[in-house]
């Protein structure tokens, strides 16, 4: 056993506080009235307006059309997150499967071409992407929001590395057992990839959840607004002497944190279980 060193603990505690305080502050401040926040600054203690603020944020209609509720935005963000995670996993698994198991010319070249797209993030190609979507009349649709960003070099790379680590004999045994390419993929590779899928799900869900620029560009129809846009629009109402609804912004921010945290907690457990369970 190592001796407990007070200095180490102090550093760790300070680090934890540094990371946690803003979150706690957001949570606590969201339970105070906007006017209190405006005059007193942020709070570290719970206030008395919590229930009221959260109900309002989730259900009250806002926006120009007066149709947008927090719940709707939450749903939209959820669709984005899940769509990204599931779509990216499906697509990159299939791409990696083709790259690893099918012998075709230039497979390596194609792989590096896919890999090179990592150097071209969305922000660089956002105008052409927008134009393509607009010409396909996919603005203001979930398809337009999700599909253009589904191709994932990261995912393809991870799955490729994973598939290469699967012993060849497994494929050969499956071939003798009469499993064709599709059956082998579904019956053997997919179940074996569970931990990999959990890891990528976490990353991609959060990536999708946090999208801001692309939805901002792609959607003008308010019924497609996501939480990330919602928070922004609350703080934009600097009209006259009105005080921005700080409390509501904080509440939305807290709500926006819940699903990613849940995803991490749920899938991390699976992820670790998978890691410790599969020794072969």
């Amino acid at each position: 056993m190592q001796k407990i060193k007070p200095l180490d603990h102090l550093i760790l505690i300070l680090g934890a506080l540094f990371l946690c305080t803003p979150v706690v502050m957001a949570l606590m401040s969201s339970t105070h009235a906007a006017i209190d926040i405006h005059s007193n600054g942020l709070f570290l203690t719970p206030g008395s307006h919590g229930a009221e603020t959260y109900t309002k944020v989730l259900t009250s209609r806002g926006g120009f059309t007066g149709d947008v509720t927090g719940l709707l935005m939450l749903t939209n963000s959820m669709i984005m997150g899940l769509g990204f995670a599931i779509g990216k996993i499906a697509l990159s698994m299939m791409a990696a499967y083709a790259l690893v198991y099918f012998r075709f010319r230039f497979a390596t070249l194609i792989f590096w071409a896919i890999f090179a797209t990592l150097l071209l993030p969305l922000e660089v190609r956002i105008m052409p992407s927008y134009q393509v979507m607009s010409e396909l009349h996919l603005l203001n649709t979930y398809t337009g929001l999700i599909v253009p960003l589904l191709a994932s070099a990261t995912g393809t790379f991870f799955f490729r590395q994973f598939f290469r680590s699967v012993p060849d004999e497994l494929l050969e045994a499956a071939r003798i057992d009469g499993a064709g390419p599709v059956k082998f993929f579904i019956d053997v590779l997919v179940p074996l990839s569970k931990t990999m899928m959990a890891a990528i799900f976490i990353i991609m869900f959060i990536y999708g959840w946090n999208q801001y620029l692309w939805p901002l560009l792609m959607t003008t129809d308010e019924s497609f607004f996501t939480l990330m846009r919602g928070i922004k629009s609350i703080l934009q109402v600097w009209v006259g002497s009105q005080i921005p609804d700080y409390n509501e912004a904080f509440a939305l921010a807290v709500l926006a944190m819940v699903p990613p945290v849940a995803v991490v907690v749920i899938f991390q457990r699976m992820f670790i279980k998978g890691l410790t369970e599969s020794d072969k």
Binding site: A173, D177, P191
Partner: protein, 357 residues
């Protein structure tokens, strides 16, 4: 159950100039247990995998039963294979591992259940049917792999070094189990190993491969008693047969100027093969300087030199040995090989079928 025939089978891997397997002709009878044996890299696995359909066949024909299988998929060849690393599906239970092939073939649930139960009974796997492979020991995993082969009731079993990953003791007992099982099922089997002892104990007939070519095909004792070449001679039997440069003069084989045994062979240089277990200490024999002794308990292996050529003999006495021992050998146990080609000179020893004693 079927016979298996390989005709002029050859394989050249893409990008390699040299054939990995060439000109292999083997006729395997129904129910026979054939062991392919040879050093690492001699093409054993390649040959087996061609039979399995996992490698394309560059030359020649492979027939299973009467069917030419060159162009068939592995699943259509009606064979089952056991791999060195077991190749069990890690995420499936033992039961599912065994049932997977049958399910894909579209067998009915009842048939699958019955066959799995039967295989589990035979292999004593019943308590483990619901476990995942990772919760099994190496020996149990290998038995599951065999179970997976058995339930298919194939025309032929193919084994690729199935025991190499097991510890020595388990290897011996599994060897016996495989043999018993094969006898009982009567399924034609092709078994690959680099271990000559495994080959000797398992095979109905051995196929000794060297550099992708067949050196000799024969029953284990036939191969042991009359190795067709210096390669086979040094590969089969432990300790390995000693190969020495010798001369035939006047119908006698001379080793470093000492007469060893009479042979019916024209005068000239030969390669002389002597097995350690055939040499006896005899007064007036060929003198060997003792170098070191390996004590094995029941016997000891005496290593030494005749002139500057290394030789080994097995001695079963416990008496201390002098610095020089004199060795003799029964003429029937003298193996002569062509000094250039290394092929066996047939007239050398007396008829092999009658073991001389």
């Amino acid at each position: 159950m079927a016979h298996l025939s390989l005709t002029n089978v050859g394989k050249t891997y893409g990008g390699s100039a040299q054939a990995a397997v060439a000109d292999v002709n083997i006729e395997i009878k129904d129910g026979e247990f054939i062991v392919l044996v040879g050093p690492s890299g001699c093409g054993k696995s390649t040959l087996l995998r061609m039979v399995a359909g996992l490698e394309t066949i560059s030359q020649g024909e492979i027939r299973i039963g009467e069917r030419l299988v060159n162009q068939l998929d592995p699943a259509e060849r009606d064979i089952a294979m056991v791999f060195q690393n077991y190749a069990l599906y890690p995420h499936m239970s033992v039961r599912d591992n065994m049932a997977y092939g049958l399910k894909n073939r579209g067998e009915s649930k009842a048939v699958i259940e019955e066959r799995v139960a039967e295989a589990a009974r035979m292999l004593e796997l019943r308590p483990y049917l619901d476990r995942k492979p990772r919760a099994l020991s190496g020996g149990q995993r290998q038995r599951v792999a065999m179970g997976r082969a058995i339930v298919r009731q194939p025309s032929a079993f193919l084994f690729d070094e199935p025991l190499s990953n097991l510890d020595a003791k388990l290897r011996v007992s599994m060897r016996m189990e495989i043999r018993k099982l094969q006898r009982r099922l009567g399924t034609t089997s092709l078994y690959v190993t680099h271990d000559q002892l495994e080959a000797m104990t398992l095979a109905d007939r051995l196929v000794v491969l060297n550099g992708g070519r067949v050196e000799q095909i024969g029953a284990p004792l036939e191969v042991y008693r009359a190795p067709a070449s210096t390669f086979v001679a040094s590969f089969i039997g432990a300790p390995a047969m000693c190969l020495l440069d010798a001369q035939v003069e006047n119908g006698t084989v001379m080793l470093e100027g000492h007469a060893l045994a009479p042979v019916a062979q024209a005068a000239g240089p030969v390669t002389l093969g002597l097995r350690a277990e055939d040499l006896r200490i005899t007064p007036g024999g060929v003198p060997m300087r003792v170098d070191h002794i390996e004590e094995l308990g029941a016997q000891r292996i005496v290593h030494g030199y005749v002139g500057d050529q290394a030789l080994a003999m097995i001695d079963t006495s416990e008496a201390p040995l002098p610095e020089t021992v004199h060795l003799g050998v029964a003429p029937a146990r003298v193996h002569l090989f062509d000094a250039q080609s290394g092929r066996r000179i047939e007239a050398a020893a007396q008829p092999v079928a009658v073991p001389a004693e």
